[in-house]
C-alpha cells in the first residue's frame, strides 16, 4: 500500500462575516496499492481538485489523515512536504502550467536539477523524446500547441520518477482528438513504468482505462461506476 486516506474532511468558509462554510470533503476514505491506477469521477465543484491538492501536499485537510509512503502528511512540515513533492510526487494539471520563459527542454531540466546535476540534458532530451517532442526542445511554451504543451508537462511529471502521479483532467483543455492522443501517450508511459496514478476526470471512457473507478459525491468517495 502506497497511499491511505482516512476520514478526510475539508471545508471552506466563504462570505467573510457570516461564515458561510461549505463542506467540500466530508468523509473520504480509500487506499491505493503500488502500481495501481485509479480514476476519480465527479461533477464540477464536487471537490476533486481539492482532494488532489491535499494528497499532493499543496493543501492541508481539516481532519482525517493521508498516509503516503508510511508518512502522515498532516504531521509533516512545509519543508518536508516540499521534499516529498520534489522526490516522490508529480502533478499534471489541466492547464499544463509550464514556465513561460523557459523552453520545453528547460522546463523539464529544472525538475531534474533539483535532484542531480549530471547528465541532466541527456535525461531531459530522452524524456522529450518519449513524448515525441525532441524536435521542439528549444521552443517556448507559447510557441507550442496545447497538446504539445501538455506532452511537455507529462514529460516533466515523469522527470523525478515519482512514486505517485496525480493528474487533474490532463485532457480537459484539449480537443477530443488531441486529448485522446495525449491520454494514450500518458497511459502508455504510466503502464510502461508501472506507476501509481490517481486520475481526476469527467470522462467515463477515460476512467475505464484505470484499474478502479471512484465517484466523489456530496463529499464522500464511493467506489464504482455509478
Amino acid at each position: 500500500m502506497i497511499l491511505k486516506v482516512e476520514k478526510l474532511k475539508k471545508s471552506y468558509s466563504i462570505g467573510g462575516r457570516r461564515k458561510l462554510s461549505i463542506d467540500v470533503l466530508k468523509d473520504v476514505n480509500f487506499e491505493i496499492q503500488k502500481g495501481e491506477t485509479i480514476a476519480i469521477l465527479g461533477d464540477s465543484g464536487s471537490g476533486k481538485s481539492t482532494l488532489l491538492s491535499i494528497i499532493g501536499g499543496l493543501d492541508r485537510a481539516d481532519s482525517g489523515s493521508v498516509t503516503f509512503l508510511d508518512k502522515e502528511l498532516g504531521n509533516l512540515s512545509e519543508k518536508e512536504l516540499t521534499e516529498l513533492r520534489a522526490d516522490s510526487l508529480s502533478i499534471v494539471f489541466q492547464e499544463y502550467h509550464l514556465l513561460p520563459h523557459l523552453t520545453a527542454l528547460e522546463n523539464i531540466e529544472i525538475v531534474l536539477e533539483l535532484h542531480e546535476t549530471h547528465e541532466v540534458r541527456k535525461t531531459a532530451l530522452r524524456l522529450l523524446n518519449q513524448v515525441g517532442l525532441q524536435e521542439r526542445a528549444s521552443h517556448f511554451p507559447s510557441e507550442l500547441s496545447g497538446g504539445e504543451q501538455q506532452r511537455v508537462a507529462i514529460a516533466r511529471s515523469l522527470a523525478n520518477n515519482p512514486q505517485l502521479l496525480l493528474a487533474d483532467e490532463p485532457s480537459g483543455s484539449l480537443d477530443q482528438k488531441t486529448g485522446t492522443k495525449v491520454i494514450d501517450l500518458f497511459f502508455d508511459l504510466v503502464k510502461e513504468r508501472k506507476m501509481t496514478l490517481i486520475l481526476v476526470t469527467h470522462g467515463r471512457e477515460l476512467a475505464k482505462r484505470c484499474d478502479r473507478i471512484f465517484h466523489l459525491e456530496e463529499g464522500v468517495l464511493v467506489q464504482g461506476d455509478q
Binding site: 481538485s49 481539492t50 499532493g56 494539471f93 528547460e106 529544472i110 525538475v111 507559447s142
Partner: protein, 846 residues
C-alpha cells in the same frame, strides 16, 4: 465614447493607478518646486529691477561728465530728462581701535528716482530727502564692525561727520555678497569736503536718468560711443541690473532644475514599465475590442486618452505635494538672497506641471501602445522571450518623448547648451546601459551555465524577461549615479572653497597704492615683519577689438534669453585690468606660446600674456591682435602666450600681463597682499598702515573668504534637499517596479513550489536575481555618477580653480541605498509573496 471607455479603464485596476500616479507626481514635484522658484525670481526681478537700479537708465564712468556733456545727453530725448549724479569711492575709515574699508557714496537730492532705502530711525529714504550738510548714513553692519557704541561722529578723509542714521536695507546691492564692503551715504558737498576725490583713488561717477518716453538702447549706445569715445561709459538698464543681481540664484535654479529632471526620468521609466505590464494584462480586452470591430486607431485612442487623464491627475497631485515643500525651499533660499524673493506658489507652475505630465504621457503612448497593437495578432505563435522584436522601430517611437525631454531640459536650465548637453549625457549613459545590459544578458543567456540550479534560474529570469531587467537596470543605474553624483559634487565644491584657504592665506589686500609710495610701503612692511606680495601695477583699460573687429558692446537682443547670451554680454563689457612685470611668479606657468620675457620682434606690437581660461572664454588665440583703450587712448597688443595662474596664492594676479616697457607711462595704481605671521596682531598693522598711507585701502581677505563659505554651504544644502527628493522618488519607483515584477511572477512561483521547490529555494533565486541586478547596476551607476559629475563640473563650473577632483567615498551612499532597496524588496515583497501564497491556487484554475 472612446473617452468614456478610457474613463472606465481608470476605475478598473486601482492598485496600478495608485502606483502610476504616485510615481509620476513624485517625479514631477521637484520640477514644480524649481519652476516656482524660477517664476518667483523672474517676477521679483521684473517688478523690482527699476527699484534696484533706481532709474530708467544709468551711466557709470570713471571720470565725470561736464555740464555740456549732460546737456548733450539730455538733448537726445524729446521730453525732459532728469539726471541724478552720484559718486562712489573706496576708502579706509577708523574709529577707536578699528579700521575698515568702506564704500563712500555721495548722492544728490534726486537720488534715487525709484525705490528706497530703509533706515533705522527715520524710516524710508527716498528721492527729495537730503542727508544734509554734515551728516552721514552708515550701513548698520559697519556700526558693529567698528564697535561704535552710539551714533557718534566718524572721520572720513579730511572731515568729520555726524552719523545720522543706520542703513538697514540698501537699494540695488548686489546679490551673493557682491558688496563685501559696507556703504556710507553722504551728500555730494560733504563728499567734496573729505578731499577724497583725487587722482589715483578708485572713483566711479554714476548718472541716473529718469526718462519719461520710450527709448532705444542701441541708439543710446551709438550716441555715447560717437560723442564720448574716450570715456568708458557703462550703460546699465534695469533689466541688466536685475539680471546681474539674479545671476547667482539663476545659476542655482538652473542647476537644481536639471537635478529635478532626473527624478522625472526615474518616474517616467517606472511608469513606462508599469503601463507596459498593464497593457499586457489588458491584451485580452484588446482582442475582444478587435473582435467587436474596433480598429487599431480606436483602440490606440482609448489608451491614449487613458494616459492623458492619468497625466492630468498626476499633474494635480504633484502640485498638491509640491506646494507645502515650496515653503521649505523658501526657508533655505532666504539665507543667500538679498533680492528678498518670497517664493510664491504660482498657478503657472500648476499648468506647467500638468502640461508636462500630460504631454509626457501622451508621447509615451507611442512606444507603449503601438507595439502592442501589432503584437496581439502575430503573437499567437511566437514568444516574447525570443529576440524577434524590431529594436530600431521601437527606438524610433521613443524619439518624440526624448525630444520633449530635451525641450524641458532647455527650459529648466535656461540654456540651449547646458540642458541638451545634460540630456545627451544621460541618454548616452542609458544607451550604454541598455547595450551593455543586452550584451551581457545575451552572453549569459547563451552560456551553458554549469552552476547551481538557483543561479541558473536567476539567470534565466534575467535573460528571458529582458525588457523588465533592462528597465530595472536603467532605473537602478540612474539612481546610483545620482547618489554618487551628489557627494562627488559636494566634494568638488568643498575643495573649491578650501582652494583659497589651503596654502598660506594672506590677510590684507591693499589697493590704491600710488607709484611713489611703492618703495616706502616695501620698507614699511619690512620694518613690521610683514611679507608683502607685489605691489603690482594695475592699468585700467577696456577691450575694444579683436583682430580689428570690435567686441560686441551689448547683446543685441533686449533680453538675453539664455544664460550663455547673458554671460557673453557680461564678459565683453567688462573693463579689464592690465599689469606688467619682469618675472612671473614661481607658480605661474606659461602653457602655450613664447616664454615670458623674451624680447618682442622688431616692429611688431607689444606682446601680452593672457590667463589661459580667460582667453578660452573670449575665444582669443595666440597671435591675435587685441585693441584696447586706456583712458580713451588706444593701445594695441599681440597675444604671445597663455599662462596658468595659481589664483590660490592670492597675490595680485591679472588676466593681462605685459613685459616692462609698455605700460609705465599710463596712469596706474598698485596692488599688494600682505602675509602675517600667526602671532602678529593684524589689526595693529592695519591701523599703522592707515596712519602712514591714508590713501591706501586694505581689505580683510580672511573675513571675505568666510563669507563666501556660508553662501556655498547654502548652495550645497539646497542641492541636497533636491537630492533627497530624487532619492525618495528613486526608491519608491524601484520598489514599485520590483513589487510589480514579483507580483507578475506569482503563478510561476506557485508552479515551482508544486514542482518541489521550497520557499527557501525561491528566496535564493530571487535574492540572486535582485542581487546580480543591483550589483551590476550599482557598479555601473557609480561609474556613470563619477563621469556625470565630471561633465557637470565641466559644463557648469568652467571657471573653477580647482576643477574636478576624485572623491573616493562618493560611492558609499549609492551602495548603502542599494543595500536598503535589496533589503526592502526581500523583506516586504519577496518574503511575503513566497511564504504566504499557498501553492494550491494552481489547481483551482485561475
Amino acid at each position: 465614447m472612446l473617452f468614456k471607455m478610457a474613463l472606465r479603464e481608470i476605475k478598473k485596476i486601482s492598485r496600478f493607478h495608485f502606483f502610476f500616479l504616485i510615481s509620476l507626481s513624485l517625479g514631477m514635484t521637484g520640477i514644480i518646486i524649481v519652476k516656482n522658484f524660477k517664476f518667483s525670481i523672474e517676477k521679483t526681478i521684473n517688478q523690482k529691477s527699476k527699484k534696484f537700479l533706481g532709474a530708467d537708465l544709468a551711466l557709470s564712468l570713471i571720470s565725470p561728465f561736464k555740464k555740456e556733456d549732460l546737456i548733450k545727453i539730455k538733448s537726445l530725448f524729446k521730453e525732459e530728462v532728469q539726471v541724478s549724479e552720484s559718486i562712489e569711492l573706496l576708502t579706509m575709515i577708523k574709529a577707536g581701535e578699528k579700521a575698515r574699508l568702506v564704500q563712500v557714496k555721495g548722492v544728490d537730492s534726486l537720488y534715487p528716482f525709484y525705490g528706497s532705502m530703509k533706515l533705522q530711525k527715520t524710516g524710508t529714504y527716498k528721492a527729495g530727502k537730503s542727508i544734509g550738510e554734515d551728516g552721514i548714513i552708515i550701513q548698520s553692519e559697519l556700526k558693529e564692525q567698528l564697535k561704535l557704541k552710539k551714533l557718534d561722529f566718524l572721520g572720513i578723509g579730511k572731515s568729520r561727520f555726524k552719523i545720522k542714521d543706520l542703513l538697514i536695507d540698501d537699494i540695488g546691492q548686489n546679490f551673493m555678497g557682491g558688496s563685501f564692503v559696507p556703504r556710507v551715504y553722504l551728500s555730494l558737498d560733504s563728499l567734496k569736503k573729505t578731499k577724497l576725490i583725487q587722482f589715483g583713488s578708485t572713483i566711479r561717477y554714476f548718472y541716473l536718468l529718469k526718462i519719461k518716453e520710450d527709448f532705444s538702447l542701441p541708439d543710446i549706445n551709438a550716441f555715447l560711443k560717437e560723442n564720448f569715445p574716450e570715456k568708458n561709459i557703462r550703460v546699465v538698464t534695469p533689466q541688466r541690473k536685475g539680471q546681474r543681481m539674479g545671476r547667482g540664484v539663476n545659476y542655482l535654479s538652473d542647476f537644481l532644475g536639471l537635478t529635478a529632471l532626473i527624478s522625472l526620468l526615474l518616474a517616467v521609466s517606472a511608469n513606462f514599465y508599469l503601463y507596459r505590464n498593464y497593457l499586457s494584462n489588458r491584451s485580452k480586452d484588446m482582442a475582444v475590442l478587435k473582435a467587436m470591430g474596433f480598429g487599431k486607431l480606436k483602440i490606440f485612442t482609448i489608451y491614449f486618452y487613458h494616459l492623458l487623464i492619468l497625466g492630468l491627475l498626476a499633474g494635480v497631485l504633484s502640485f498638491l505635494v509640491a506646494a507645502p515643500l515650496v515653503l521649505f525651499v523658501n526657508f533655505i533660499v532666504q539665507n543667500f538672497t538679498p533680492l528678498q524673493i518670497i517664493i510664491q506658489i504660482s498657478w503657472k507652475s500648476f499648468f506647467y506641471g500638468s502640461f508636462i505630465c500630460m504631454i509626457s504621457n501622451a508621447l509615451c503612448a507611442l512606444p507603449l501602445i503601438i507595439p502592442k497593437l501589432d503584437s496581439s495578432i502575430t503573437s499567437l505563435h511566437s514568444s516574447k522571450f525570443r529576440d524577434r522584436y524590431s529594436q530600431k522601430k521601437g527606438m524610433i517611437l521613443f524619439i518624440p518623448w526624448a525630444l520633449f525631454f530635451v525641450f524641458i531640459s532647455i527650459d529648466l536650465s535656461s540654456s540651449y547648451r547646458n540642458g541638451p548637453l545634460f540630456c545627451l549625457f544621460i541618454f548616452i549613459s542609458l544607451l550604454i546601459t541598455d547595450r551593455l545590459g543586452i550584451w551581457i544578458l545575451n552572453l549569459l543567456g547563451k552560456a551553458r551555465l554549469r552552476g547551481h540550479i538557483i543561479f541558473k534560474l536567476a539567470f534565466k529570469n534575467m535573460t528571458r524577461f529582458k525588457t523588465e531587467t533592462l528597465i530595472s537596470l536603467m532605473v537602478l543605474v540612474l539612481l546610483s549615479s545620482m547618489l554618487t553624483l551628489i557627494p562627488q559634487l559636494n566634494h568638488v565644491m568643498v575643495e573649491e572653497l578650501s582652494y583659497f584657504t589651503k596654502g598660506r592665506t594672506p590677510h590684507f589686500f591693499l589697493i590704491d597704492i600710488q607709484k611713489d609710495q611703492v618703495e616706502e610701503l616695501r620698507k614699511f612692511c619690512e620694518e613690521n615683519n610683514v611679507e608683502l606680495a607685489g605691489p603690482s601695477p594695475m592699468v585700467k583699460a577696456k577691450l575694444q577689438s579683436l583682430n580689428g573687429k570690435p567686441f560686441e558692446q551689448y547683446s543685441k537682443k533686449k533680453k538675453s534669453r539664455t544664460r550663455e547670451a547673458e554671460m557673453n554680454s557680461f564678459l565683453r563689457n567688462r573693463p579689464i585690468n592690465l599689469s606688467y612685470k619682469e618675472k612671473l611668479y614661481k607658480d605661474e606657468i606659461i602653457v602655450k606660446g613664447r616664454a615670458f620675457g623674451e624680447k618682442d620682434e622688431k616692429g611688431s606690437l607689444p606682446g601680452v600674456s593672457l590667463e589661459e581660461r580667460y582667453a578660452k572664454r573670449l575665444k582669443i588665440k595666440i597671435g591675435d591682435e587685441i585693441g584696447m583703450t586706456v583712458l580713451g587712448l588706444p593701445l594695441k597688443a599681440k597675444v604671445e602666450s597663455f599662462r596658468k595662474v595659481n589664483w590660490a596664492n592670492l597675490k595680485p594676479n591679472f588676466f593681462f600681463v605685459f613685459k616692462p616697457g609698455v605700460l609705465e607711462n599710463y596712469p596706474q595704481t598698485f596692488l599688494g597682499t600682505t602675509f602675517h605671521d600667526k602671532d602678529k596682531r593684524p589689526y595693529g598693522f592695519q591701523m599703522k598702515l592707515l596712519d602712514k598711507f591714508p590713501n591706501v585701502s586694505s581689505i580683510n581677505l580672511k573675513r571675505n573668504i568666510e563669507k563666501t563659505r556660508t553662501i556655498f554651504n547654502d548652495i550645497v544644502l539646497s542641492f541636497r534637499t533636491m537630492t533627497f527628493v530624487c532619492l525618495f522618488v528613486g526608491v519608491f519607483v524601484i520598489w514599485t517596479i520590483f513589487q510589480n515584477q514579483i507580483e507578475q511572477r506569482i503563478p510561476d512561483y506557485n508552479l515551482l513550489k508544486t514542482l518541489g521547490f521550497s520557499p527557501d529555494h525561491l528566496k535564493k533565486i530571487g535574492i540572486a536575481e535582485v542581487g546580480l541586478l543591483i550589483s551590476f547596476a550599482g557598479l555601473f551607476g557609480i561609474l556613470v555618477g563619477y563621469l556625470l559629475s565630471y561633465s557637470l563640473v565641466a559644463i557648469f563650473f568652467r571657471n573653477m580653480n580647482e576643477g574636478w577632483s576624485f572623491y573616493p567615498w562618493a560611492f558609499l551612499p549609492a551602495v548603502l541605498s542599494k543595500a536598503l532597496i535589496a533589503f526592502l524588496v526581500y523583506r516586504f515583497v519577496f518574503k511575503k509573496v513566497i511564504e504566504e501564497k499557498a501553492p494550491n491556487e494552481l489547481l483551482k484554475g485561475y
